[in-house]
């Protein structure tokens, strides 16, 4: 049974998407439970595989049995669950499941009469994201990337007003990224004659430092950066996620960018190798510089915004810099931090967007000035929001603290002080944002328990949204407390053995 689990991860949402599209045609309400069922199957399989991988090591699965026998050679597509992606798969499917439950009320109010295909697109997006995470074939990865991208363009274009233009810009940028990636795959294919990640990584060391390989590497990276909105390719993200319907933003913001970061990590760690990166030091220092700039730029723009959704988007941008920078430190703590932060950040941004979604659901918008008294109106949501921001700031014992811990340790080890400074600066900026919101939402109103002040009516978000939000926020603390076992049993084994101290 265990050997079939990897395929269940993508089959769950894929089948759900297909069936839900038809079911919506027959009965509009049928699609939501179907998608949830598919995601439950996927999450259960992914969770089980975390334990299997931790115990037995990587699980490989050959689609259709092609390639399972050595005489088949490189024919066929392999999917792999190993130490590098198992946590990501569990996080993506888990967050997707919670978001699907969370989004129901939002979709009903934001997209009345148009919710039919939303869930099918949602499931398709998750299929694409999980596919990127699980595939062991770099061309297959491109296909999944485009599945995810196409459904996310549609999900964003569901929004009102500027959403179409934002989706169009995202489409241009996303397609460019995917094409660059594909071109890079072509270069790798010319040199190695295979698309299977295992085979490529076996073949590459013998090929040395060829120019074609280097060009392929850079092209693949550029593609991944465009997809993850890494500085300077970040222009599309804030508009796209702000103007998208909240239900779409809640799923896209945490997952889409993280999966792109995973693509980069996979290419750096498994396809090419860390040695390869260390032997091209010029580009390493450039990327580290860009990461610091991404963090600083994201942080400062988030300070200047007055819309809560916009702030959240720029926070996502600065977090991207964390992961790229951590990966390019190319040492043990830095990579540990990057791999850990992919999961931690997916959880943190998910919780952040969920809390913001609750606020938008009740208040109708999310301008900072309109948040007066929000702490009295929605105490539970705001408690979750504060925990989430604390995680983003890096307050122990939330997961954000530990990723920052590893990243700073890695930067200190390599002596990249500008990266340390950028990390700390971004922490402080997020603290400023949090307390600005606390001041507006809590302190700037006359306290209702004082005589004569009107009571602010309690108007909490509905339970179907509140429970996932609170669960996510508590998950941040749980993830933080589980850092040591996760790092010891899984993440440490995902890194190349040459890095061990």
């Amino acid at each position: 049974m265990t050997e079939q689990l990897p395929i269940v991860i993508i089959l769950g949402p894929l089948l759900a998407a297909t069936v839900a599209a038809f079911a919506a045609w027959i009965h509009p309400k049928a699609s939501h439970p179907l998608v949830v069922t598919g995601l439950v199957a996927s999450f259960a399989a992914a969770l089980k595989l975390v334990f299997v991988v931790a115990e037995k090591g990587a699980q490989k699965y050959w689609l259709g049995g092609w390639g399972a026998k050595p005489e088949h050679g490189v024919v066929g597509i392999q999917i792999t669950v190993d130490h590098l992606n198992t946590l990501l798969l569990a996080a993506v499917s888990g967050i997707a499941l919670l978001t699907a439950l969370y989004a129901k009320r939002l979709v009903n109010t934001e997209l009345p009469g148009r919710q039919r295909y939303f869930y099918a697109l949602f499931a398709l997006l998750i299929t694409g994201l999980l596919g990127i995470g699980i595939t062991g074939d770099i061309f297959n990865l491109y296909v999944f990337m485009e599945i995810a991208a196409l459904s996310s363009y549609a999900l964003i274009a569901y929004g009102k007003g500027r959403a179409y233009m934002a989706a169009f810009n995202y489409l241009i940028m996303g397609t460019m990224g995917a094409c660059l990636y594909l071109l890079g795959v072509g270069f790798v294919f010319i040199k190695t004659g295979t698309l299977n990640i295992d085979n490529i990584s076996a073949a590459l060391p013998a090929l040395g430092q060829g120019q074609a390989l280097f060009v392929g590497f850079v092209l693949i990276l550029l593609g991944a950066w465009a997809k993850m909105a890494f500085f300077p390719f970040h222009g599309w993200l804030p508009n796209a996620y702000t103007h998208a319907p909240t239900a779409s933003a809640v799923v896209l913001a945490p997952l889409a960018t993280k999966v792109a970061v995973y693509t980069m990590l996979r290419v750096m760690v498994t396809v090419y190798s860390i040695d390869y990166i260390l032997h091209s030091p010029g580009i390493q220092s450039v990327v580290l510089g860009l990461s610091s700039i991404a963090i600083v730029v994201g942080s400062f723009f988030s300070l200047t915004q007055t819309n809560l959704k916009m702030i959240a988007c720029y926070v996502v941008l600065s977090e991207i810099g964390y992961m790229v920078g951590g990966a390019w430190l190319a040492n043990e703590p830095g990579l540990t931090g990057a791999v850990y932060h992919v999961v931690a950040d997916a959880a943190m941004t998910s919780a952040l967007f969920m809390a913001v979604g609750c606020i938008v659901y009740r208040l109708g918008q999310a301008q900072l000035d309109d948040l007066r008294g929000v702490f009295f109106k929605m105490p539970v949501t705001m408690a979750a929001f504060v925990v989430t921001m604390a995680a983003l700031i890096g307050v122990p014992p939330t997961c954000g603290f530990f990723s920052k811990w590893y990243l700073i340790q890695g930067a200190a080890q390599s002596g990249v002080w500008h990266f340390v400074a950028a990390l700390l600066l971004s922490s402080l900026v997020k603290a400023i944002i949090l307390f600005r919101i606390v001041e507006i939402g809590y302190n700037r109103v006359p306290h209702p328990s004082v005589d004569g002040n009107p009571a602010i009516p309690r108007n909490e978000a509905p339970l179907s949204m509140l429970i996932p939000t609170v669960a996510m926020a508590l998950g941040l603390i749980a993830l933080g407390l589980a850092t040591s076992p996760l790092v010891n049993t899984i993440i440490a084994k995902a890194l190349p053995a040459t890095l061990a101290p």
Partner: protein, 494 residues
Amino acid sequence: METVSSTLPVWIVATSSIAALLLALLGRWPNLREACIFGAAVIKLGLLLSLAPTVLDGKRVGFEVIELIPNVSLAFRVDALGLMFALVSVSLWIPTTIFSMGFLRPLKRHAQTRFYFFFAIAISSAVGVAFSANLLTLFIFYEILSLSTYPLVTHHQDDDAIKGGRKYLTYLLGTSVALALPAMIIVYQQTGSLDFTNGGVFAEGTSSTMLTVLLVMFLFGFAKAGLMPLHAWLPGAMVAPAPVSALLHAVAVVKVGVFSIIRVLTGVFGVERLVDMPSLSTIVCVLAAFTLIVASLIALTQDNIKSRLAYSTIGQLSYIILGVGLATKAGIAGAALHIPMHAFGKIPLFLCAGAIYQACGAKCISEIHGLGHKFPLTMTAFFIGSLCVIGLPPTGGFISKWYLLTGSLSSGQQWAFAVFLSSSLLNAAYFLPVIYKAFFAKPSDPARLAKAKEPPPMTVVPLFITSAGCLLLFFFSSELFRFADTFAELFVSR
């Protein structure tokens, strides 16, 4: 040294957090709510005292909760210094709560449940800091303390409170994230361990530049200790209600800062290293001595009672840092002893500031000229508290200053002796005139004179409990000294 494994430290830390949750639920019934606090405080105190014999025996009580990152756990370990600090914070929690009841209830202050809730959380985290076995655990509780006291500082929710709260967080969160956190990570990256070890964690031959940079980062990173120039948050935090200023900004929060620095100096750097590398010890001493003198001078100029007390606190905290920086046995013991002595001395002063406000609505010293005889009990408590802070017998402050002075002589740093003495004179210069003027100066405001009267018993009783504490500590100082001595013995024999 032997470490006894027991879950007791975890429970002691958790008691007041559990109480916080309970009292949040009991918010509608004020009597039950406050009974809950007393219950928790008594239980906590009892548990703490039950640890005392083991700890005084030279053993430590430890427990490892969960491993957070490889080789570093969320772990508690109670030694003499930690236990003494916890005892002081918890025992002062009781009179402060009585005072809060007298102070908040008659004024129908808003959000009392929130006030008590965060107060209890703050006590939990202060005890958590006291019991931390490694730098990471300490840092975690340190941050929780900063965050949980923010709602207390901004309690009044007016513009002043918001401004003070902003300053509070900027200083405390900013320095801990920007300085203490990277310093801690560098220590971990260099040594692979964050446990407090008597001889320090650094290997022989660690470059002195690195050590100096780390030391400065730690000293300023734990800005709760109020070393100049990162002291401005403390006068800003005086916008908080009087009980908060009393327990948190004279005892728990500020002492946590000093305590963290003591831990870093003794457990991370190691006293031996301070002795071997005089440059390190000099940095500590010079920073502390500078703060000591300058803060006392500024205190002279303050008219607002609470600001004067705040600057006095900043100066007294540096006594402790300077004592440890001297790296002699008497110095360390004196520094450790100064934690409870100053706490017991400063608390009646702050409570008096609150009581005076309640008695006649005055916040400044110039406003209470000649009003002393209207509330003699309050002013008597103020007098005893001042004696203790100045360091005159028969109060506990005398004992700790005695050891600090002995320590400065035995270290051979005579200038520290002079600094201690001159600062004590300054202390007398900014406290005694307050009392003189309150009783003998001509009343400045007849309207206020007519209105002034002794505050209600709920306010006055805690004043007397705490100032009686100052006197008792003088006569029973040997009990407390055993704690300080057990702690100091770990490090230096000379």
